[in-house]
Symmetry: C2
């Protein structure tokens, strides 16, 4: 469910719940990309006042899902190929770094868990052929663990809390579940292998290629669509 940042929170406020609900609605396209957000309307819909709603909107802006203009209101972001490329450029760099650090700082048992996770995903994947949801959940989980393994708090915050909802939004709304399934698994395996060998440089390189391949895949899809 990707609620990593909420699992640690002792008490959940209304604005926390709102954030999750609206995030999901935007990512899934229920609130369409580019549409205007009306505070009174959303407040009615979720049966809360505008105070916690505005708190939630502030946090939605933080993860780039909406854009606000003072005195004019908020809009859901519009998705463009250019922005998507920008996003993947960043991911290549940041997740490459995450791999290098993870190879250095992850505990042995964390690496073993990661390996076990991949095996399980492989089995699940075989059973549910074609169901992209599990594939995506597995993929995100894989990336999450490595990012957390970097132990760099700023890096973790940027990737997990700010950029990954955008990544999901693009995947869902542009239908990026592609035919890269089995190849992605092999790439994941190679990356884990490098981390297990404490070869940060190699893990870095492999992750950059892994994400770079996705980026080119996207570029191709976009080109074909035209």
């Amino acid at each position: 469910m990707l609620a990593s940042q909420l699992l640690l929170r002792p008490s959940v406020t209304a604005s926390d719940r709102l954030l999750l609900a609206i995030q999901e609605a935007i990512v899934e396209g229920e609130i369409p990309a580019g549409s205007k957000i009306s505070e009174p309307e959303l407040a009615r819909r979720f049966a809360v006042s505008r105070a916690p709603l505005r708190e939630a909107l502030a946090r939605l802006e933080r993860c780039h899902l909406i854009e606000r203009i003072p005195n004019a209101g908020a809009r859901v972001v519009t998705l463009t190929p250019e922005k998507l490329i920008s996003l993947y450029q960043l991911r290549e760099e940041l997740e490459g770094l995450a791999c290098r650090l993870a190879a250095q700082y992850m505990a042995d048992d964390e690496i073993q868990e990661l390996q076990a996770l991949l095996d399980e995903h492989l089995r699940t994947q075989r059973v549910r052929e074609g169901e992209s949801y599990y594939q995506e959940a597995g993929d995100l989980d894989f990336h999450y663990r490595i990012i957390l393994g970097s132990k760099n708090p700023y890096l973790i915050n940027i990737l997990c809390d700010e950029l990954y909802f955008l990544v999901r939004m693009y995947r869902v709304q542009l239908g990026m579940n592609g035919p890269r399934v089995s190849r992605a698994f092999d790439e994941h395996k190679a990356i884990i292998h490098a981390i297990a060998n404490r070869d940060g440089e190699l893990a870095d390189l492999l992750m950059r290629r892994h994400i770079g391949a996705s980026r080119q895949n996207i570029a191709l899809q976009l080109q074909q669509t035209r």
Copy 2:
């Protein structure tokens, strides 16, 4: 003044002004690192209600200057050597990327302006020997322009709006203005040269070294302090 994200805003609200004021107070150490933030107290101090104050606090959390715990309140972040290293690791990666992209996307006149800026800083620096404020302002300005030159909106947002206040806070409070002045100028010149030659790879490498040198400088200073 580093108010880049505010210059474009049509109308300035109370929470905008609050954000700037509190940011400055935290960066300069007037509100001490690690101290608890009392909403009623701050609201009185700035003569506003808690609504715009809370909006400002949400944005301060976004740039990592405060940490909030639901129902418990907000604290100014504490500075640690480990976090500072984490921050510089990120900067190396992100500003390296920024250089590579800037070499590709900056317009010719933007590069010329950048060059002129550096010359001017050099002159100003000679006049005001030892005054670290101008040196820092110049340094930040230099980095800003290259980041903006990358034309990658997510990269720009993360570096300029989220991480640079933290960088300033560390510089001010740990007194990081060091003896690297003249050497930094040479490094800046080399980076611009690479960008002007549209050599992204080289600019990337040089920027990583430039920031890496600062990082090692910091590590040394911290070691000596003990």
